[in-house]
């Protein structure tokens, strides 16, 4: 399956097109999506840890559409980047570690969203999820960035 993915027309175009609108733009969109996704998540985490605690939690609901946009952009661009070198990524341990960290980070959004929708921002449980979210995103971004150096 991995090698078939690499031979699809789309993957070949991504790998061989010299245009800056091909691979470079996909990579840059992936970076922008990352900034939206991680940045917006962190802002919410900071609020849950007590920064700007006078702001009602309901005011932070705008975070979720922003996070969704970032997530969709990065899933789409991530899949494109993946199929370009599917045989390399699909069999690489560092890549699987990164994907696990991303999955863990996204998973922390689920209980956090539930807390925000309930308007319940106090207690050690919320703080635990906020800290877990900050750390998981940090680890995911770091792992993603290090792929460029581990996979050469």
């Amino acid at each position: 399956v991995l090698s078939w993915l690499e031979t699809t027309q789309l993957a070949v175009w991504l790998g061989e097109s010299p245009s800056v609108w091909a691979f470079p733009t996909i990579l840059t969109l992936h970076t922008m999506g990352l900034a939206l996704l991680v940045g917006a998540s962190w802002v919410l985490d900071l609020r849950l840890l007590g920064i700007s605690r006078t702001v009602p939690l309901s005011a932070f609901r705008w975070i979720f559409p922003v996070v969704t946009v970032g997530l969709v952009v990065n899933v789409v661009t991530g899949v494109l980047l993946f199929i370009k070198n599917a045989t390399v990524w699909g069999t690489s341990l560092p890549f699987l570690v990164k994907m696990s960290l991303v999955a863990a980070s996204v998973a922390t959004l689920v209980p956090i969203r539930a807390h925000v929708l309930r308007g319940d921002a106090t207690g050690s449980r919320v703080r635990f999820w906020a800290i877990a979210s900050i750390l998981a995103w940090s680890a995911a971004v770091t792992a993603g960035r290090l792929l460029a150096y581990l996979m050469v």
Binding site: V55, R145, L146
Partner: protein, 315 residues
């Protein structure tokens, strides 16, 4: 006009500007006038932002002079080392000045400790930058350099900038680690700036602007982390950047982002005290334009930065 020329045009900004900022601050202390101190802090932050292109264009000038036999490479390197220290202290002073401005906007009065710390750092910055400027003048002006003060020849690795470059090129982990921090830094900055600017554009209208504004130092933290890691890349591998047009675009957009930090901290209109009086604050057209410009500038910084290898020749 090339970048060496730009360096000659701008290189007096850090020293002359610092004298002016220091004058305002000292006058503010003597007259016990907080407005003067405030103006001094604002000017200091502007100088810190402007010092970035001064330093970057200086490194570009350095590379253009490398092949000229009539220029002493040692003299340039000594100047570059001094300038890097001056740049660092100036940025630190600008950072403390910004924190003092933010704090005074938030509390409605200045924190004397922060203002004093910014002033002390400014004095140090002025001394170090003055030395750098003096050494820089000596590169092309033999008439002002004493004969016995000619820069001694020596091994390149006794220079600080060469040592940083050595680490950047040879260490297995330094560059990747700095890249990882750089990515975390921009995520933090963009997340916070997005929250603040979306509030100006009308999201979260029911909450006081002051409370969103509380997040801003976290954005500045990311900005600072990225200035440090970014300068590590730049000093480590200047050739990747000085001949790379997107890099200069990135610097321009970074300065817009820096101006936005100052705008959000200094101007009173979009922002009143934390007593809830701005709870229904509706931004004017200028505020909204600034908010859109800031978001656009951050995306442009990301675009130019990520596209450096593709539009230009980095890496």
């Amino acid at each position: 006009m090339n970048l060496a020329h730009l360096h000659l045009v701008m290189n007096h900004v850090p020293t002359v500007g610092s004298v002016a900022a220091l004058g305002l601050l000292l006058l503010g202390f003597v007259r016990r006038n907080d407005h003067l101190k405030h103006a001094g802090l604002e000017l200091l932050f502007v100088i810190a932002v402007l010092t970035l292109p001064v330093y970057v264009s200086g490194v570009a000038a350095h590379r253009e002079l490398e092949d000229r036999s009539e220029i002493s490479d040692d003299a340039v390197r000594v100047h570059h080392d001094a300038a890097l220290i001056g740049f660092t202290v100036t940025e630190l002073a600008g950072f403390v000045a910004w924190v003092a401005l933010w704090q005074s906007r938030r509390r409605g009065r200045q924190a004397p400790g922060l203002v004093a710390a910014a002033t002390v750092l400014l004095v140090v910055a002025l001394a170090v930058m003055g030395r750098a400027a003096n050494l820089g003048g000596g590169i092309r002006h033999p008439e002002i350099v004493a004969a016995d003060a000619a820069a001694p020849a020596g091994e390149p690795d006794r220079f600080m900038t060469s040592a940083i470059s050595e680490i950047a090129v040879n260490s297995r982990w330094a560059w990747p680690a700095a890249e990882a921090v750089h990515f975390l830094g921009f995520s933090l900055s963009i997340g916070v700036l997005l929250a603040v600017n979306l509030r100006i554009l009308g999201a979260m209208r029911q909450i006081p602007f002051a409370d969103v504004h509380r997040l801003l130092p976290w954005g500045m933290l990311g900005f600072g982390a990225n200035l440090i890691t970014g300068m590590f890349f730049f000093v480590g591998q200047p050739g990747q950047y000085t001949e790379n047009p997107p890099f200069y675009w990135k610097i321009v957009f970074l300065m817009i982002a820096g101006a936005n930090f100052l705008y959000l901290t200094v101007f009173g209109k979009p922002w009143r005290q934390a007593d809830g009086s701005d709870a229904r604050f509706d931004a004017g057209a200028a505020d909204k334009a600034m908010a859109i410009a800031s978001i656009a500038a951050w995306l442009a910084v990301l675009y130019a930065g990520r596209m450096l290898p593709f539009l230009g020749n980095a890496f």
